[in-house]
Symmetry: D2
Subunit: 293 residues, 4 copies
């Protein structure tokens, strides 16, 4: 057996900061996103396109994910892109489209914010604001999110340790905002047959150390459409409180991340499978009743 000199099973979680720590608050935090509760016994699925591309794309996708069983809609209006020459998102126009489709479908909306100057704007449209992996240690942004009165979805950085991740969440709670959801979305390792390495052990670890809800993003975590269902099932089995999944009404035409987006049919099938696993674990996923035709 190996001796990892840095690993100490006696010592896990020794330095978790107070506001996120389960030692301070033993009962689970439940985050309320426009009426949908995350962190309770029901497993909540967030779905939608990577980026808002157009009214048709967003609306068709939103209707499809609602039918499939999603309870919250995702979609990026401000997009962090590695290259300045890639599509950067529709900006406020995208936020308006998200707001419109929420009216129609009743699905609460989560969307990313990248700039301290836009927190107010994004929070005025969204039911939950997302801070992405690249900004997990953008401390001014964390503080600004902590000062707004909307729930925050804080994604784990690609190379953030569990401790660093919880310290980042502490920045938000420390400003008085306790409505924070954590999200494992894959870490960077030497292995690159997958886009990232989805670290599912982060789920039980975070839930043991903290009272915050924890969800999983199998889309970014794998980067492979065909692998998303397997990892989504594993995420439910490991104890995640929810999932965030990329769905596109026409994946092959997506401007970004189409190769990891499910089609509406694939999504609906997955939800049916997930429901069975949830039940085997004593949890629930509520699916809409099939419409009579």
């Amino acid at each position: 057996m190996e001796t990892n000199p840095y690993y100490n099973p006696e010592n896990v979680g020794f330095s978790i900061p107070p506001r996120v720590s389960r030692k301070t608050q033993s009962n689970d935090t439940i985050v309320n996103i426009g009426g949908v509760q995350v962190g309770d016994s029901e497993i909540i699925v967030i779905a939608g396109p990577c980026a808002v591309e157009s009214q048709e794309q967003l609306f068709e996708t939103a209707r499809a994910v609602k039918t499939g069983g999603a309870r919250i809609l995702r979609g990026g209006a401000f997009k962090p892109r590695s290259s300045p020459y890639n599509f950067q998102g529709l900006g406020e126009e995208g936020l308006k489209l998200l707001s419109s489709i929420r009216e129609e479908t009743g699905l609460p909306v989560v969307t990313e914010v990248m700039d301290t100057r836009q927190v107010g704007l994004v929070a005025s449209y969204a039911d939950m604001i997302q801070i992405g992996s690249r900004n997990m240690q953008n401390y001014p942004l964390l503080k600004e999110a902590g000062m707004c009165r909307k729930p925050v979805l804080l994604k784990r950085g690609m190379m953030a340790t569990i401790e660093e991740y919880l310290l980042a969440a502490e920045y938000i709670l420390n400003q008085g905002n306790e409505q924070v959801i954590l999200c494992e979305r894959g870490i960077r390792t030497f292995e690159t047959s997958t886009r990232n390495t989805l670290d599912l052990s982060a789920v039980p670890m975070l839930k043991r150390l903290s009272h915050l809800p924890v969800i999983v993003d199998p889309s970014h975590g794998t980067g492979l459409r065909w692998m998303v269902p397997s990892m989504a099932k594993a995420a439910v089995a490991v104890g995640a409180d929810g999932l965030i999944i990329e769905v596109h009404y026409k994946p092959e035409e997506a401007i970004c991340d189409g190769y990891q987006s499910l089609s509406p049919n694939e999504f609906a099938q997955l939800m049916t499978d997930l429901k069975k696993i949830a039940q085997a674990l004593g949890r629930e996923i509520s699916l809409p009743k099939p419409s009579v035709s």
Copy 2:
């Protein structure tokens, strides 16, 4: 979204060698270990102590894992240890004890081999020989294992890519031995709150690229007793053909790896939980009938 310049969803598996590749053989290989089939619809659990320490320890643990539902017994007689001053295993004496308890319980036995010179000896006692993570690229050992007529459990190296792992398995098949089981047991990453990072995405990836059965070791993958059940459930949900789990009749007294070993009661409870998940997925885990008392 990130651009990982080395990740190419179009290109996964482009260079998988022929004998292990699913392109060459589309149907699943089923490996027969002393009458127990791995790779079929039933999920097989291998359990037992990290190392064979004594007759009492081995026999008591073996009886307990059989009662809990294990189908194969594990236990190390030759132990790879980071330090030359740590317990190195009982050697042939350990092999004899494994053989005795197999007689009593009927459980086939898997145990590790580290040296080309010992392959014959170990194979004469064991129903399956194990090549550990550190020896995944010990090519003379792989060749020797390929020449023996026993099934081989080949564990993934701590820093082996999927491609390197399948190339290592190819060494065994290339010698004429097609009875190979793959095992994800955690990779080394920057994160060390867990002993390793259990890469569950390796399971669907390996099963897509190869026809060989794939099992998961949540004990070494996490290094944390309390986390083993969560990750074992996730491994079943993700599609593993089996599990290998460390169990010790008195974990607190184990010479090695006690902090990651389940007690007999914890193991029995886990098996009951795993059976429910297997059923939700349309697979099976057969548990012994409770004895009447």
Copy 3:
């Protein structure tokens, strides 16, 4: 030999964006920081404390590094800290102190900016603004830095590939600001006997792919005072255009990073050693003449 399936020696740099690429501009960019040229044959050393803590601390340290041969002064006024409970920097008060000591010593000043809203403020005090590792993919901040008229020191992210790093620099150049210096400061790996793993191969790689100057930060790269001189020498030998080194007038009393800060004497000795290596390579480090006493 290993086969790293993602490594392709024929393919290095295939996707470097145009403005940073040496294919577009073959001659080296020289960046002018308040009269000091970085990227020319002279090797430039930036030194100073991690954080501005007080007038005495900053001024004494600044005088010492000038005497030792530093050409530019570093010091943080806005500090990115993993924990919200750690010292967050003196803010604008720190900027004013930096400005004062520049008046006295003539040393140009570099200091970090973390928030898009503060780029104007920081740029009004500093001769060069620094974007730290955690913000390497903070795209709004990169754009804002690209719009200001001050040189930018862009540190490599702890988890950034060479390509991602150059794409981040492209964001700055794409806004019209070509005065960008790159800085290798250590990446995150499994090895943690050092704070980070200083990737010196990044220096020749970046200089081959891009025309921008490249410097090295051995202080954050190692996190160990006693190791800084060795790695500084290696950085000069590998072809870096400069170094950025943490020096504190009383390292044992530093509020942050004292364990990696050199004392004034250690710094002066190092500069003398570096000068010899620079000369062996046909480059130069100009040291002040010793004062007569």
Copy 4:
């Protein structure tokens, strides 16, 4: 600044085993390879082809590296290859060729051993036996090498921490063989524009913790011919006791690793450059006198 929870500057080297530790033996070990001393003030360069391919290839390359200033010849007869279908080396025929060219040139020879059963054979031909990265934790092989009376070049595993590396060396010393040379050859990280990430900080770390000599392999560490000279210079500057460099008389025709092999002219030029850096550091590299023509 980051908090790496596993990094503790106070704690480096806390668990180094006794025989390799500098606490036990404060003065540097000097290893004698057929009359050449490694670990003394002179920097020793080992050079030669990756694999012995033929008499012409080996002999021409050996003569060229001797002329260039190499003091020891390298060349693989038994080759660890990721794929079973790649060239596996000439075996004993290769050992005989190495022995012949030693007669002619006077250069001592180092070559790899992979199998416990071949240690005696390889040691009977070689002046130093090499244990490669993949076998760094092949404990039976380490013990066998410890029992032979030849010096051992133990390369760091791609995934080995400093502590694990020194524990592996302890296995050899613990068998009574103290003639061990350590070799940093690149670790595996997320960055793959280079074949591995050459961790030069390992050199001062190993030399602080242990009395054993430390050399560097920039060929495997980078995998890029054009980068070898830069990293070789950095290795000398950082304090390495020697280098091991792949040279091939016709790199473009090499069966393996040609893309990282220097030509004889490139090697000779590099040696001249290295000598200058060595002198700037107060060390020496002795080059042969140019022949009169």
